[in-house]
């Protein structure tokens, strides 16, 4: 009985042994350093720069100012941001609508076939996205392959304007991002317990009802991930707008790019980047609050 009257040992006794902690630390070190040096530090610097002043010929003067942010309030830039969001929104919507049935198909077939399909999906991008994108110019222009075929078939008299408009942008964007969007949707469809579909049918729901009430809600993590994976790069990917869109309207990606090249106005470019980052963070924040998991983004 004497023993049990002894005070319990201090609570601070480690849960893990020292060696285990050492091993963990060693494993963590590279990524920690990497994240600190090449992610956190650059973003801090970016934020810092956004408060500096542009000097002559594109140099930077280290006098703090809020002018860069005031400049962003100019309705011109609000328009640019809005325009970018609209294009990204369209692309994302269509990508999801087109990608979901494909993801469903890949999930349905045998695992061998599905990995083959995934590879085939990624393969064109493997080559060089830009070269393949350029092929769209050949395909879509007024005397391009599609118009020629349609006119030869007498389906058209006048060539259709397929290139240098939002249609072409969206087609190009879908081409670039659909493969990435399909992957997370595919994996969430695959994870879906087929028993649930059967349960729903068993309870009297037809295929459409089952899809709306069970399949879709349960695969929504994959859909959300696909949305993020399409929407975000869309905003910054200025090559497609340049190449296929005719560049008649400025996108935020181009705008930022211009600040660092043609305009040589880094602080303003930094401020734009910060604003863009904040907008995206808000979206991602909402995504995680809705129960999204950033891990789904890796597919």
């Amino acid at each position: 009985m004497k023993k049990s009257e002894e005070k319990p040992r201090p609570k601070g006794r480690p849960k893990k042994t020292r060696r285990e902690r050492m091993t963990t630390l060693i494993m963590q070190a590279p990524m920690t350093i990497w994240a600190a040096l090449f992610i956190i530090a650059p973003f801090c610097l970016l934020a810092f720069m956004s408060f500096m002043t542009k000097g002559p010929l594109g140099s930077i003067q280290y006098t703090p100012t809020l002018d860069n942010y005031k400049e962003i309030l100019n309705p011109v830039y609000a328009d640019v941001i809005k325009q970018s969001l609209v294009v990204a929104g369209w692309t994302t919507t269509l990508t999801i609508l087109m990608g979901y049935p494909l993801a469903g198909f890949i999930a349905k077939v045998k695992s061998k076939t599905s990995s083959l399909l995934t590879i085939l999906l990624m393969l064109p991008l493997w080559v060089s996205g830009l070269v393949v994108l350029y092929s769209f110019v050949i395909l879509l222009n007024n005397s391009g392959i599609i118009n020629t075929i349609l006119m030869k078939l007498h389906l058209l008299k006048e060539p259709l304007a397929l290139l240098y408009n939002n249609f072409a942008i969206v087609v190009g964007m879908i081409y670039m991002f659909l493969p990435f969007a399909v992957l997370p949707m595919y994996s969430s469809i695959e994870k879906l317990d087929p028993g649930l579909i059967e349960a729903s049918k068993d309870l009297g729901a037809g295929p459409v009802k089952t899809f709306c009430k069970v399949t879709l809600p349960l695969t929504s993590p994959g859909v959300f991930a696909a949305i993020i994976l399409t929407f975000i790069p869309c905003i910054g990917y200025y090559m497609v707008t340049d190449m296929l869109g005719g560049g008649t309207s400025l996108m935020i990606g181009n705008l930022i790019y211009r600040q660092f090249t043609i305009s040589r106005n880094w602080p303003f470019g930094a401020a734009l980047s910060v604003v863009l980052a904040v907008i995206i963070f808000l979206m991602v924040f909402i995504y995680t609050k809705l129960g999204g998991d950033l891990d789904d983004l890796g597919a």
Partner: protein, 340 residues
């Protein structure tokens, strides 16, 4: 060959090493580079420019290892003012004599005495080009591009300077004007034209060829002119709308290989190099015609444009942009491009 300096005597000192050359596609032929590497026993790294501003920005940050830089005249002043360039070593550039005096006499805007720069080829022009077969109206000025009949038929360059300079010139101002009022007028003109514009971009040839557009305000039509004989009759420039400029070789002040850099520049002025360039890319030669006539296709000089381009050059005010102008134009440009 007919190059003045023999590689043996000039190159002995600079055997080995690397030369970083920043240039535009079409300003030096691949073969020439290979020949130079072989003759001088050096490595030449060719990097292609996307935008001169980017280079300027990088160099201003002190973050560049370029030796030879291919600059367009518009930025010459900025480079010179920022002391980014080293004076050329004319002792090394013995092929200087091969250059057509027309191009040397005028000098470059911001470096009129050609202390730092030498024109690479003959002049380039930005201007309105018409596809005679498809263009619905007569065009003889920049303002005509705003004609409603041209809706969705105009291709335009996306280079800010060319846009505003073209508009300024059309309004009767200096294309290099820094006057805010004048620039605002130019903006108003551009805004009128914009609804007609199908696409802004770099490469316009294809869209004129494919019938995507019937008119282009562009800087690369010269290539199209010389590329294919069939195009000579099909396309036409509107002389009133042209802006002229040149590309210049310069040597970076920070270069540790200045001697080799000058030797490289010199090498490109050999008749052999010039012929290779013309055969590969076409364009207006900077060298005296008699030195190269034999090396190129029989009909090369039959192109009527060739003479016209050369003749036009002395009357043109070369483009040159200042920092202030860039800033103003940039805001205007963003405004122009943001609306639907």
């Amino acid at each position: 060959g007919n190059d003045g300096s023999s590689p043996e005597e000039g190159g002995s000192a600079s055997k080995g090493g690397t030369l970083n050359v920043l240039t535009w596609e079409g300003d030096v032929s691949d073969e020439t580079v290979a020949d130079f590497e072989e003759e001088y026993g050096v490595d030449v790294n060719i990097t292609y420019v996307e935008d001169t501003n980017t280079i300027l920005a990088k160099m201003l940050q002190g973050n560049s290892e370029y030796d030879v830089i291919d600059i367009e005249s518009a930025y010459m002043k900025s480079f010179v003012d920022a002391e980014l360039l080293a004076p050329l070593d004319y002792d090394k550039i013995t092929n200087y004599e091969n250059i057509d005096p027309v191009y040397v006499e005028k000098g470059a805007m911001g470096d009129e005495k050609l202390t730092y720069s030498l024109p690479i080829t003959g002049p380039l022009y930005t201007g309105v080009v018409i596809n005679k077969e498809t263009c619905p109206i007569e065009i003889d000025s920049f303002e005509d591009l705003a004609d409603p009949a041209l809706e969705g038929q105009v291709w335009s360059t996306n280079a800010t300077i060319s846009l505003y300079a073209g508009a300024l010139k059309a309004l009767g101002y200096s294309p290099n004007s820094q006057d805010e009022k004048e620039l605002n007028e130019a903006q108003a003109l551009l805004q009128k034209i914009k609804p007609n514009i199908k696409a802004f971009g770099a490469s316009s040839i294809s869209s004129l060829e494919t019938g995507e557009c019937s008119v282009a305000y562009t800087y690369d039509y010269n290539i199209l002119m010389f590329d294919d004989k069939a195009n000579w009759d099909k396309f036409e420039i509107v002389p009133e709308t042209t802006l002229g400029y040149c590309q210049y070789w310069t040597v970076a002040a920070s270069s540790e290989n200045q001697k080799l850099a000058n030797e490289f520049i010199n090498y490109t002025y050999s008749a052999e190099s010039a012929i290779k360039l013309l055969n590969e890319w076409g364009g207006v030669p900077a060298l005296k015609r008699e030195l190269i006539e034999e090396g190129v296709a029989k009909d090369y000089f039959e192109n009527p444009m060739l003479q016209e381009f050369a003749d036009m050059w002395p009357d043109h005010e070369e483009l040159s942009v200042s920092d202030e102008q860039t800033a103003i134009m940039d805001t205007l440009y963003n405004e122009l491009m943001s609306g639907e």
